[in-house]
Amino acid sequence: MTGFETEFTPLQSLAGGVLIGLSAVLLMFFQGRVMGATGILSGLIAGTAPGDRGWRAAMVAGMIAGPLLVMALSGQMPAVDVPVGWPMILIGGFVVGIGVTFGSGCTSGHGVCGNARLSPRSMVATVTFMAACGITVYVIRHVLGG
């Protein structure tokens, strides 16, 4: 299974990255928490404390509203092209859920917030998941799918 080309978008990606960082800073400013998608979702489904689900649900609603806002302003929904079939989506989703729980975070929690705090744990986690993802993509696209 090989991929198809996607356009190199350094300026848009940088601007989007700044917004992702801004959201992390805002959450620290308002609630004094690190912004991790894993923690938000995990707390939402498990309910860590009474009254703790409301703000998590509001944040998830805001996350979904973001691309809709972009669509409203630009007249176009940002591309979401899923280049793999449903069995890989299903397996990938479940495996990600297991991994981020035991790894205590994902691209946002470790990759952005933890690294910005210069946390050695987050640096190790980030190097590990980036390497594992790169190896997986190489094996799927160039060894198995060749």
Partner: protein, 144 residues
């Protein structure tokens, strides 16, 4: 205040995910496909996000407390153990299989595509199962 600020934080995050291209698994997988259809855009996403957070956290953490809560709740764990490394490796495996990480998949739900809904459903199932296993190991109730 808590709900409104959380919604705004989520919307800024989701807008960033959308504009940056993180929302698009084809683009994310291409970032990792250096030997194939490589697209280095995601370096700029990570760079922009890290730079902003690095500076912003230093400004915010000069305050005595956040706006809503009484104290900052920063992660305290410091152990670099097999659980951290193993879990992160498993996450990377799943990310490479499907092309979505959790923070990109949730905003992508806005696209209305069934593939995203399937991924998020599987992700939530994985989170729930893993929490149940972890809590049993640490002797807490499954939903504690």
């Amino acid at each position: 205040m808590r709900l409104l600020s959380a919604f705004i934080v989520g919307m800024v995050f989701g807008t960033g995910i959308a504009i940056s291209g993180m929302i698009n698994p084809a683009k994310v997988l291409n970032f990792f496909d250096i030997a194939g259809t490589w697209d280095p855009s995601l370096i700029f996403v990570m760079g922009g996000a890290l730079m902003t957070t690095f500076i912003g956290y230093r400004l915010v953490l000069r305050r005595d407390a956040p706006v809503i809560e009484e104290t900052f709740q920063l992660p305290l764990a410091r152990d670099i153990d097999a659980r951290l490394i193993g879990g992160s490796a498993v996450f990377g495996l799943g990310w490479g299989i499907a092309g979505f990480c959790p923070g990109a998949a949730v905003p992508a739900l806005g696209s209305g595509k069934w593939e995203v809904a399937l991924f998020v459903a599987a992700l939530l199932a994985g989170l729930w199962v893993a929490r149940a296993i972890r809590d049993r190991q640490t002797g807490k109730g499954a939903l504690a």
